[in-house]
C-alpha cells in the first residue's frame, strides 16, 4: 500500500512538502491562533509571519527584529548588555538550531512553502513543454554569478540594515528590509486570500522601493520558475542562513567517487539548483552550499551507493541502479514527465 502511494523518494518528498505547505500557511487551525502556540518563530524555512494563519514562522524576522529593536537600541543605551542583547539573539539562534539540527538543509527542500510553490510552478512548466533553462555553460552561464547574492542578502538585509536602523543610522523603514522583499510574504498571504501584502507601501521612498522590488521578484519567480527550477532559492538568505550550520547537522548528503563521475552528469541535470559540484566533486565538496537536500541527485544516480542521504550513521536513501531505471521511465532528470502513450496491443487489429 505504502509502496504504491509513495513509489519514489520524490513522491515522499512531495507529500511532505504539501503537508508542510498546509502547516506553514494555514497551520494555526492545528496549533492555535497565538504566537505562543506556534511550532516556533525560528523555523529554518520561509514560513511568513505576515500570514496570520500560519503554524510557525521563519527565523529571519526575529533576527531582524532583535538586531533592530534590541541590539541596536541596547548599544545606543549602552546598558542591559547581557539581557538586552546577547540572550535574545542567543535564544533565537538556539531555538532555530533545535529545529535545524533534526533536518538540516532539508528544511529548504522538504518544508519551505516557497520552495514547494516554486516546484509546483516548475512542474507546470514541464507539463506545458516549456524548455528548461540552466545556470551553466552553454545556457545562462552569466546567471551562475548569483551564488554570492544570497550571502549579500543575509548580511545586508537580515543582519546589517536592521542593526543600523536600531542604531538610528538608517530610517525606520529599513527595520526589517528582507521581509519587505521576501516573495514568501506575498505568496503565502495570497494563499490565505489576503491581498494586503501584494499592495505596495506608499508611505515613504524606502518602503515603496522595497515593496516594489519584492513584487518584481515574485513576478519574475512566477514566470521564470516555468523555465528555471527554484529561481528564488538561488538567492535566498534562508539558504545562506542554513548553510552557516550545514556541517553541524547530522542530516547531510554524502558522495563517494565513481569512475563515471564528471562524465555522465545526470545528478547535476536532476539537481533543481543546477549544482555542478555534485557530479564533479566528492566528499565534503559535493555537498554544496546551494544544496537543499531534496535527494534528486541520489534518485537519479545510476550507481549503487554513490550518493546517499544520511542522518548521522543512518542511511536514509542511497542511489541504486534499479531505482534509477524505474524512476527515469516515469520522469526525466530535468523533471519532464514522460507522456503516456496509448499503443495498439499486438494482434488487436485482427479483432477489429
Amino acid at each position: 500500500m505504502l509502496k504504491a502511494l509513495f513509489p519514489t523518494l520524490s513522491r515522499v518528498r512531495f507529500a511532505v512538502q504539501v503537508v508542510m505547505l498546509f502547516v506553514t500557511v494555514y497551520g494555526s487551525v492545528l496549533v492555535g491562533t497565538y504566537m505562543a502556540d506556534k511550532l516556533s518563530n525560528n523555523l529554518p524555512a520561509l514560513s511568513c509571519a505576515y500570514d496570520q494563519m500560519n503554524g510557525g514562522y521563519c527565523v529571519l524576522i526575529p533576527t531582524q527584529h532583535i538586531l533592530h529593536h534590541r541590539i541596536g537600541e541596547a548599544i545606543v543605551r549602552a546598558q542591559q548588555l547581557t539581557f538586552g542583547m546577547v540572550l535574545p539573539l542567543l535564544m533565537s539562534f538556539v531555538a532555530f538550531f533545535a529545529f535545524f539540527f533534526v533536518l538540516g538543509k532539508a528544511f529548504c527542500g522538504w518544508v519551505c512553502p516557497l520552495g514547494t510553490l516554486q516546484e509546483i510552478v516548475g512542474r507546470v512548466g514541464r507539463r506545458f513543454g516549456i524548455g528548461l533553462r540552466r545556470l551553466e555553460d552553454g545556457d545562462l552561464v552569466a546567471a551562475r554569478r548569483v551564488r554570492p547574492v544570497k550571502w549579500l542578502l543575509l548580511l545586508g538585509l537580515v543582519f546589517l540594515l536592521p542593526l543600523l536602523t536600531g542604531l538610528g543610522v538608517t530610517p525606520h523603514a529599513l527595520g526589517n528590509p528582507y521581509c519587505d522583499l521576501c516573495p514568501s510574504r506575498i505568496a503565502t498571504t495570497l494563499l490565505t486570500g489576503n491581498t494586503e501584502q501584494l499592495a505596495v507601501h506608499l508611505g515613504d521612498g524606502w518602503s515603496f522601493a522595497l515593496g516594489a522590488t519584492g513584487n518584481t521578484i515574485i513576478g519574475f519567480m512566477l514566470i521564470g520558475g516555468l523555465a528555471i527550477r527554484q529561481p528564488f532559492c538561488r538567492i535566498c538568505p534562508m539558504l545562506a542562513f542554513n548553510t552557516l550550520f550545514q556541517r553541524l547537522s547530522p542530516c547531510r548528503l554524502v558522495k563517494t567517487r565513481h569512475a563515471n563521475c564528471g562524465t555522465c552528469r545526470i545528478c547535476t541535470e536532476a539537481c533543481p539548483m543546477d549544482i555542478p559540484e555534485i557530479s564533479l566533486e566528492d566528499g565534503r565538496k559535493a555537498y554544496s552550499e546551494d544544496c537543499t537536500l531534496c535527494g534528486r541527485c541520489a534518485e537519479y544516480c545510476p550507481q549503487d551507493g554513490t550518493i546517499r542521504l544520511k542522518w548521522g550513521p543512518l542511511t536514509l536513501f542511497s542511489s541504486q541502479r534499479n531505482y534509477y531505471k524505474t524512476k527515469v521511465q516515469r520522469e526525466l532528470p530535468d523533471g519532464t514527465v514522460k507522456p503516456v502513450r496509448f499503443v495498439r496491443k499486438p494482434g488487436s487489429a485482427d479483432h477489429a
Binding site: M35, R133, H172, A173, E196, F220, L222, Y300
Partner: protein, 280 residues
C-alpha cells in the same frame, strides 16, 4: 487586601451615590478621573501610549472610581496595583513572562457594578492567552474571541468577534455598544452564543494612515445587564489602527508584479539547439 480596597471603594461610592441621583444605578461622577473627551464610558488608558517597557506599563482608569487595577497573567496568577493620581504602574507576572495580560478596574455600589477592562501585551515570551480569556474575571465580561495575534492589531474595516458573558455564561441578544476616538458610534447584538461581531469603522482621518509605526486610536465596547437587583456595566477598551489599504496600493503592487513577469518572459524562449544537453 483586595476585599478591603473594594469595601473602601464601595463605602466611598455609596456616599456619592446617595448624594446625587443618576440613571441605571451608575454612581455619580465625583471621585472619578474625568472621562475621555471622545467617550463618557469607563476606560483604562495607557499613560504615554502603548509600547515602551517590556515588563511594565502605566495605566490610568478614566470615568470609573477604581482604587486598584487587577492584573490577570496568562499563567493564572493575579495581582492588584493601587491607583494614584497618575494611574497605576503594572508589571508582567514575572520578568520572563510576557504575552497578553488582562487588566481590570472595578467600582461597586449596592446597586451597581462597573467594570473597565483592557489587555496589555508584554513583549517578552509567555503562555498563549487562551486560558486567560476562558477564565472568569468579573461578573459581566466582554471577551475578545480571539485577541489579535502578537504582531497584529484591530484595524479599520475588519470584523472581530467578542463574547458577552454573565457569570461565565453567554448572554444572547445583548446590545454591545461601540464608541471610537474617531467619533463613530454603533450598536451590535450578540447572537445565541453570546457573540457580537463588531465591524471596526473606517474613521481615521486621511492624514493618519499607514507607516510601520502606524497611528492608533482608542475604541471602547460597553454592555449593560440587570440581575439580582443590580445593574452591571462592563467596558472593554483597546486601540485600533488604520486599514492597511489606506497607505498601500494594489495597483502599484500589480504593476510591479507584471514588470517582474515581463522580465522573465525571455527565459521562456527555448535554448538554441546546439546548446541542448544530450539525453541521459
Amino acid at each position: 487586601m483586595q476585599g478591603r480596597l473594594l469595601l473602601i471603594t464601595w463605602l466611598a461610592m455609596a456616599g456619592v451615590a446617595q448624594a446625587a441621583p443618576h440613571e441605571h444605578g451608575v454612581p455619580a461622577a465625583e471621585g472619578r478621573a474625568k472621562p475621555a473627551a471622545w467617550s463618557a464610558l469607563p476606560l483604562l488608558l495607557p499613560v504615554g501610549g502603548r509600547g515602551g517597557e517590556r515588563d511594565g506599563a502605566q495605566l490610568r482608569p478614566v470615568g470609573i472610581a477604581a482604587s486598584e487595577l487587577l492584573v490577570f497573567a496568562p499563567d493564572g496568577s493575579q495581582k492588584s496595583y493601587p491607583v494614584d493620581a497618575e494611574g497605576a504602574r503594572i508589571r508582567s507576572a514575572a520578568p520572563t513572562q510576557g504575552n497578553y495580560h488582562w487588566v481590570l478596574a472595578r467600582e461597586e455600589t449596592p446597586t451597581h457594578v462597573g467594570i473597565a477592562s483592557t489587555t496589555w501585551y508584554f513583549s517578552n515570551p509567555g503562555p498563549a492567552p487562551a486560558k486567560l480569556l476562558a477564565r472568569q474575571k468579573a461578573e459581566l465580561e466582554i471577551t475578545p474571541s480571539p485577541l489579535p495575534r502578537e504582531h497584529g492589531s484591530y484595524r479599520e474595516s475588519e470584523k472581530w468577534r467578542f463574547a458577552v458573558l454573565f457569570m461565565g455564561q453567554a448572554l444572547a441578544g445583548k446590545s454591545l455598544r461601540m464608541e471610537t476616538e474617531g467619533g463613530s458610534r454603533s450598536v451590535v447584538q450578540t447572537d445565541q452564543n453570546g457573540i457580537a461581531t463588531v465591524l471596526f469603522p473606517r474613521d481615521f482621518a486621511a492624514s493618519k494612515g499607514g507607516g510601520h509605526g502606524r497611528p492608533k486610536m482608542n475604541f471602547v465596547l460597553a454592555v449593560e445587564h440587570e440581575a439580582g437587583g443590580k445593574h452591571y456595566r462592563t467596558t472593554f477598551n483597546h486601540t485600533y489602527t488604520p486599514d492597511a489599504d489606506r497607505n498601500r496600493s494594489l495597483a502599484w503592487g500589480g504593476a510591479f508584479l507584471l514588470v517582474g513577469m515581463l522580465g522573465a518572459v525571455p527565459l521562456l524562449r527555448r535554448r538554441a539547439a546546439n546548446n541542448q544537453r544530450p539525453e541521459a
